[in-house]
Subunit: 252 residues, 2 copies
């Protein structure tokens, strides 16, 4: 499994992904699921992946290959004129890759080898944008109303993001929010695991403002994980108490 | 969809279920998913259901019918000697009902019409017990290490239960915890909805200590829902702040 989140803030983009892949619970490896490409001063584009690892690696390799062929820049992440076209081209590659493997496996391949992706980035002169790409190659874009996307094991970590997200929040608060969301997910699903990859992209910088890998022994993640239990417990006890014997009219 | 939780505490059992059923998002109804049977002073048994409504209603009707046939008490919830046999008999009925509908529909029925159940209760002279029953009719029992079961849309509301559950907690705190868990689920999945059914069964009482329906306009649920947003935000801000520029060694 996988857990990746991409978020649009007023200040820019924040991305986090885990790195655990598994084929059964007894075959666990660490693979990067967050990638980025940039043209200094002009664009930065990041892709996060969930789903079949052979599929996502093939798509990433194809995206990468295109950036190495300078004569064919028009289809490359480094040359496409808009983020919309970047999402569209990535979706097309994803659909083709999934289809190819499915077709090669005949009826046994049906419905398998799928993957989904989050594409985030900014090109000079335009806004930072965030897309979620489905295995079918079509995609949706984050909006004011839905300013973040999750892929993979999305449910455990969703309530805290729904409650904690604020478009005006600082990058530091957004990272803290994502760490809490990841911690809840890690606690509930063994197939999502540390280390995590983190990237913050400030508006109009066209480079990672902050990028690091959060390792197994990261003291900040440990602190969040243990403080969050205490903080949640305190929050819980701060709620009005339930009573069997009152009609609760005064509970408002 | 559905969300039901059953919990074993030192003091007894706490059960909560939603009541929304849907067949598509444009066909939503309210159906009870929590049922109970009792022999005063001797036993109380509750069943909660998730999954195909025709299946679960058929199982509940069959369970109910057996309790009405006094000459055939040995297979009835009111006559079976142990909670283990209650779970076993309920599982058998569930499996038979699922199979029957599947077989009646030939190959189109495969994998459909499934349901799962939580069975909770106590029979005099024995401990309160809690079981989760799979569509295949087999089942597992709650233990000291896994003292609660969820069925239906389980993921959104799970992290808070994992953090908040304490075997020694009061019934009131357990109800509060479940309300928070249900609120997170309701906020994330439209197909889980109010009203909720709540039942508390104190050890050795063999009757509902407290049972009520939490309606759309329940002031306590409203208070929990709005206070929880504030409390979570406060909890979040109480966590150590993330910083881009420190190595975080002091964050412990």
């Amino acid at each position: 499994m996988t857990y990746c989140v991409g978020m649009v803030l007023e200040k820019g983009l924040v991305l986090m992904s885990d790195t655990r892949t598994n084929s059964g619970v007894d075959n666990i490896s660490v693979f990067r699921k967050m990638f980025h490409w940039r043209v200094p001063g002009e664009r930065i584009i990041s892709v996060m992946t969930a789903g079949n690892l052979a599929t996502t690696q093939a798509v990433i390799s194809r995206l990468e290959e295109r950036t190495k062929a300078p004569e064919d820049r028009q289809n490359s992440l480094l040359g496409l004129p808009t983020m919309f076209q970047v999402a569209s081209e990535t979706g097309k590659l994803l659909r083709e890759t999934v289809r190819e493997t499915q077709d090669n496996n005949g009826s046994r391949g049906r419905g398998r080898f799928t993957a989904s992706m989050i594409v985030a980035g900014q090109i000079a002169g335009m806004e930072p944008r965030l897309f979620m790409i489905y295995p079918e190659g079509n995609f949706i874009e984050a909006s004011f109303d839905t300013p973040f996307f999750q892929i993979g094991e999305t449910k455990y970590g969703r309530p805290i993001i729904l409650r904690g997200y604020d478009r005006e929040m600082s990058f530091e608060d957004a990272v803290k929010l994502l760490m809490v969301s990841f911690d809840s997910t890690l606690k509930a699903n063994l197939s999502v695991g540390l280390p995590l990859d983190l990237m913050v992209i400030a508006r109009d910088q066209f480079e990672p403002t902050h990028a690091r890998r959060i390792e197994q022994t990261d003291p900040y993640f440990d602190a969040i994980s243990s403080s969050w239990s205490d903080a949640l417990r305190a929050a819980f006890h701060s709620l009005p108490d339930y009573s069997f014997y009152q009609p609760h009219e005064d509970a408002e």
